[in-house]
Amino acid sequence: MLRVEARAQLGAFSLEVALETAPGRCLALAGPSGAGKTSVLRVVAGLVHPEQGRVSCGEELWLDTAAGVDLPPERRRCGYVFQEYALFPHLRAWQNVAYPLRGLARPERRRRALELLERFGVAHLADARPRTLSGGERQRVSVARALARRPAALLLDEPLSALDARTRASAGRALAAVLRETGVPALLVTHDFTEAALLGDRVGVIDGGRVVQEGSAAELAASPASSFVADFTGAVVLTGTARPGTDGLTHVVLDGGGSVSSTDSGDGPVAVSIYPWEISLAPGDALPSGSAQNHLPVEVISVTAVGNRIRVGLAAPQPLSAEITDASVHQLALEPGARAIATWKATATRLVSR
């Protein structure tokens, strides 16, 4: 269990957070730039020193300002993946990965480094210099390097944002697998809620140096605590398997049941994203009509007012949320437990391969 509490004044900006994440679980901190996400990682790694704070990882105490404990970064067993990956430019890829492996003979260090690179499918780049690698390749080398030290916790700063859209999906998939396999607590920060939803078991929305809401991505989307969270969460994300249809649309069978159509193309595992304000609700017994292609029977889980609109949390059975007016909520008598039909257009359904 990685536990972090910190209070710090960093320039004109104050940071005040308390969070924890369990082994094998990933807590994704999502927020706009300048929200203090990276500062949290730097506090954990020991690269900045908060006025007050306590950081512990399992049995190890890394920081306790009250007890005068403050281990230097090299004694905190953190695997830190930096935003631009921070690979050492004067070392080859394998030497970067072998950098933390000390006290071993050179052939052994190289063997271990190659093993890690192999795991990320980049063993053939072992002798390349970082500047000759593509963004995706650098990301893999960087994650391999962070794992070489067998870290007690993983810290990832925007691990996908330096990648182009094409690479991002496969890199995200690989990273999600790594986070599951390593079995250490992971803390990830990102400015992209969709990324947080895909990689984090839980998501904390951070703004102005504070975690304003924490929960599963679906919980945050379904019942945001503030209009900031509502705006930030943006699209709802469902997972499923896509298959091109004969009608020019792509049909996606959702994990857990139900199917939807999209005008985006896709084949195989995909993430389906829809904005809550694109989804309308109809009474559970009404026959679908109009041009919308997607109709999903849902159960109402929560009804939350966000400013002058209402977020309705739904189970389809995957979590989903719709944003409608107060008048509609009354008209449809929506309350937790009620059944309804969620309807939206195939053109409002975005697919990202997973």
């Binding site: 230097p72 905190r76 830190y80 921070a86 430019p89 004067h90 500047r131």
Partner: protein
């Protein structure tokens, strides 16, 4: 031909003037000295000795500067503290100091009647009018050249490289040795070349602090000056050798910095 306007022509003219002005004296040295003169002047008493003394003293001075200057420059580049700007200015002051003033200053500080003269004498060290004095004078005038260059080389490093090294289990000392120095390498080497060039050409401070005794403190520039009044051709020949040695040194240092790692500091 296309009319390119007057400005590019002006730029080319400026460069041409500079090039002529800066290279003419160097070319003249070689034009005036025949290859035979060159060889015979080297055979002369004291010429080779002066050259050897120049090379040894400047090499030792540059060695001292690099060993002490590199960590000092790293500290200045990576830490922010009160009075840092004033400190940097103090260190750069010898850059603008006239060599004669530097010589007087060294005498006032370390000479027999100087501020620390007693301490030096008690330690049994003789500096004034000795080879050690030459090394000291060279170190004094050349150090700022290296420090300045090293500091800016370290400042230009991506801080996340240093931080990544720490999170990968390296102490600050190991980070300095394994990441900061290699990545700042090209900048450090060009600073070294500048300092070495300055040390090889040093004249005024050496003359005032260490004197000009053949075989002991008479470096190549001092030997050239001594000959200048009696044997102009000899002075010219020795100058030509010094130019050739300096140029060879500068060139080999540049080649070395190119091969340290073929990345260049600026990713």
């Amino acid at each position: 031909m296309r009319n390119r306007g007057w400005f590019p022509v002006g730029l080319v003219a400026a460069l041409t003037v500079i090039l002529c002005f800066l290279t003419l004296p160097i070319v003249a040295i070689f034009v005036d000295t025949g290859p035979l003169d060159l060889l015979s002047s080297l055979g002369e008493d004291g010429a080779l000795e002066a050259l050897r003394l120049s090379l040894t003293c400047s090499a030792i001075a540059v060695g001292l500067i690099v060993v002490v200057g590199t960590p000092a420059a790293y500290l200045l580049a990576t830490r922010r503290f009160r009075g840092r700007a004033a400190l940097v200015t103090l260190i750069e002051l010898p850059l603008v100091l006239p060599p004669a003033v530097a010589g007087i200053g060294l005498l006032a500080a370390l000479g027999p009647n100087g501020v620390l003269g007693g301490v030096v004498e008690d330690a049994g060290i003789e500096l004034v009018l000795t080879t050690a004095g030459v090394i000291l004078a060279l170190t004094f005038v050349a150090a700022p050249f290296y420090l300045r260059q090293a500091q800016s080389a370290f400042e230009a490093l991506d801080r996340t490289w240093l931080e990544a090294s720490r999170t990968l289990g390296a102490t600050e000392a190991r980070t300095f040795l394994r990441v900061a120095i290699p990545t700042a390498g090209p900048g450090l080497i060009s600073g070294l070349a500048l300092a070495w060039g300055r040390a090889l050409g040093e004249f005024g401070a050496t003359l005032m602090f260490a004197g000009s005794f053949r075989g002991v403190t008479q470096t190549a520039p001092l030997a050239i000056y001594e000959r200048f009044s009696t044997d102009f051709t000899g002075a010219l020949a020795l100058s030509a050798v010094l130019v050739a040695v300096s140029a060879a040194l500068l060139l080999s240092v540049k080649l070395l910095s190119g091969s340290v790692w073929l990345g260049g500091a600026a990713r």
